[in-house]
């Protein structure tokens, strides 16, 4: 398998687009290496803007470029982009309605042992709360490429979070069902009892593995790859809530204001069903590499399957 990080998939898609569209602009805050954007900066220097370590400047300059017709893509670690430049995202991008795509790289706990300063486990909560800001967490490289293509075709603001590490493929080059702002539904098993797993970003792969484990136990397990956290695909959630005995959400985020909160708000109001929530704790995250940290907090396929089986009784 050719594993690459999703950030690299973004660079490749943007380079294809930049070839024929000189309005595609990439901006970095001394982050081109960590964003996998060095090839873009090397190949399209006239379409690249370096602002130095200044995330507020990064986002405001992007908004100014976008206001004048550019398709401005900002790349910076999600921890800084979603917090240091939050007000610029709120005012210069979302409120002023500029065509800026904010790409938060190495999101969640990607930076592992580097500590809380480098984690972004509040970004979904923060960004979804801004009117006119969409929030996407694609799962694998194929979906990331489709998402970039869709985002290049519109002129609205968006925040995209991708991880630092290479991720397992969920889809293939020839089979990556994608409809913008619709969750991708994956069904496993054919039992009479249905359980639902709703996940985004790097949590989709373990959710799929969990669904396979549950299918082996005789259940019908459905995964919703909710890459579109905002606008949340309410219809897919409600359809699944009508079928499933229980739902489980999984996210690399604080337990507040993320995917679990958003899904629960929809089901509680319109189709009450029990929703188990797996997330990172409301606490300083333990030191370690991503897989170690995920294992420690139970963000694994095995724990997802176990939680659902235990809840079913």
């Amino acid at each position: 398998m050719n594993k690459i990080p999703n950030r690299q998939a973004i660079c490749e898609s943007l380079m294809s687009a930049a070839e024929n569209d000189r309005d595609v602009i990439a901006l970095c805050s001394d982050s081109r290496g960590s964003a996998s954007m060095t090839p873009f900066f090397t190949r399209f220097p006239e379409q690249s803007v370096e602002v130095g370590i200044a995330e507020q400047n990064l986002v405001s300059i992007a908004a100014g470029l976008a206001h004048c017709g550019k398709k401005a893509w900002c790349f910076s670690p999600a921890c800084f982009l979603s917090a240091r430049s939050y007000e610029q995202a709120k005012i210069d991008v979302a409120y002023s309605d500029t065509n800026v795509k904010l790409i938060g790289i190495s999101g969640g706990i990607s930076y592992g042992a580097l500590g809380m300063s480098h984690h972004s486990c509040q970004d979904i909560a923060g960004m979804t709360a801004i009117p006119n800001m969409r929030v996407y967490l694609p799962s694998d490289r194929f979906q990331t490429a489709k998402l970039v293509e869709a985002l290049l075709a519109d002129e609205k603001p968006a925040y995209v979070r991708v991880g630092r590490n290479p991720v397992e493929d969920i889809y293939t080059e020839n089979s990556c069902p994608f409809v913008m702002d619709k969750a991708t539904r994956l069904d496993f098993g054919s039992g009479e009892t249905t359980v639902g797993l709703i996940a985004c970003g790097e949590m989709v792969y373990p959710a799929v593995q969990a669904a396979k484990l549950l299918a082996d136990k005789g259940l019908h397990a459905v995964v919703l790859d909710m890459y579109c956290v905002k606008p949340l695909d309410r219809e897919a959630v409600l359809t699944l809530a009508g079928e499933a005995s229980i739902l489980l959400t999984a996210e690399e985020h604080s337990p507040f204001g993320g995917l679990g909160s958003l899904v629960s708000a929809v089901t509680a109001a319109e189709k009450p069903v029990r929703v188990l929530q797996l997330a990172l704790p409301d606490d300083h995250v333990i030191t370690g590499k991503s897989p170690e940290v995920f294992a420690y907090y139970g963000l694994t396929a095995e724990n997802m399957a176990e939680k659902l089986l235990a809840a079913l009784g």
Binding site: R22, I25, E46, Q47, V49, V51, G52, A54, Q56, N57, S60, I61, A62, A63, G64, L65, A66, H67, C68, G69, K70, A72, E87, Q88, I91, D92, Y95, S96, D97
Partner: protein, 277 residues
């Protein structure tokens, strides 16, 4: 037309807006009025006719709280209707919000939180350069605003990219809500500070419309670096001695008696400006 006298009309419209809506940033409106009027009537290539032309000049009011003066000058320029501006400013459901709203014709970007205008203008100036467009890009900041770190990120990038098509004006009235800028966070060496970021700096009397116009002309001629115009102004200028240079008039609703005095003073100054033409 006589810009000095138009600037007094701008102040009068701002005064009426503030009386009708129940308060506003009157001190800064009066200090910035000459700068805005010179920009719109003597310097910038912006009008209701070319507002969507990519080659137009671009303006961002970074000190968004001087919105009354901004809407007033946009009304003078024909972007907005003066009566509507006075009657609906800050009223329920109005698009004439208490800080600039780019849903209105002629307004490029929303502002209100300080320290955003200059970095946004850096992006606009870069875009014009990338496309080989003749557009020039202008922002007006307050002096209190200069304490925001993002302003200096903007100065840094403007100097780094040698944006000769970028011009920042500082409405330097020396007062902010808590007192003098000197006491709150001083910028005694502002010219040297901005120069050290690679900018041309020009200091002028911000109520001398000819001097402002000359400074803008010099900025236009300077192609290898951006220009910062430090416009020395008086907060509350033209309203009368009781309100000029007083931090307490940063945001205020004048009493009925004060209103009469301010209106009379503005009328008197306007007359003088017309006589001196």
């Amino acid at each position: 037309m006589n810009v000095k006298s138009t600037a007094f009309d701008v102040r009068r419209t701002a005064l009426e807006m503030i009386m009708k809506s129940g308060g506003g940033h009157i001190g800064g409106d009066f200090s910035v009025a000459d700068i805005l009027t010179v920009l719109y009537f003597r310097e910038m290539n912006i009008s209701p006719e070319n507002k969507d032309d990519p080659d137009r000049d671009y303006f961002v009011l970074s000190k968004g709280h001087s919105v009354e003066a901004y809407y007033a000058v946009l009304a003078e320029k024909g972007f907005l209707d003066r009566e509507e501006v006075i009657n609906t400013f800050s009223q329920f459901g109005s698009e004439l919000i208490g800080h600039p709203n780019n849903a209105l014709p002629g307004i490029e970007m929303n502002s209100g939180s300080l320290g955003h205008g200059l970095p946004v203008c850096v992006g606009m100036a870069l875009a014009a350069r990338m496309d080989g467009r003749p557009s020039r890009v202008y922002t007006v900041m307050g002096d209190g605003e200069l304490a925001e770190g993002s302003v200096w990120e903007g100065f840094m990038a403007g100097g780094h990219y040698r944006l000769g098509n970028l011009c920042a004006v500082v409405d330097f009235n020396g007062l902010q809500i808590s007192g003098t800028t000197e006491e709150v966070m001083n910028h005694e060496n502002l010219a040297a500070q901005v120069e050290s970021f690679g900018w041309q700096v020009l200091t002028v009397n911000g109520h001398d419309c000819d001097a402002l116009q000359e400074a803008f002309a010099l900025a236009r001629k300077t192609e290898d670096k951006p220009t910062c115009i430090i416009a020395r102004t008086v907060k509350g200028y033209g309203g009368g001695a009781f309100m000029e240079n007083k931090a307490g008039w940063h945001h205020k609703l004048p009493s009925a008696e004060e209103y009469e005095q301010i209106a009379a003073n503005l009328e008197k100054h306007k007359k003088e400006a017309m006589e001196n033409e």
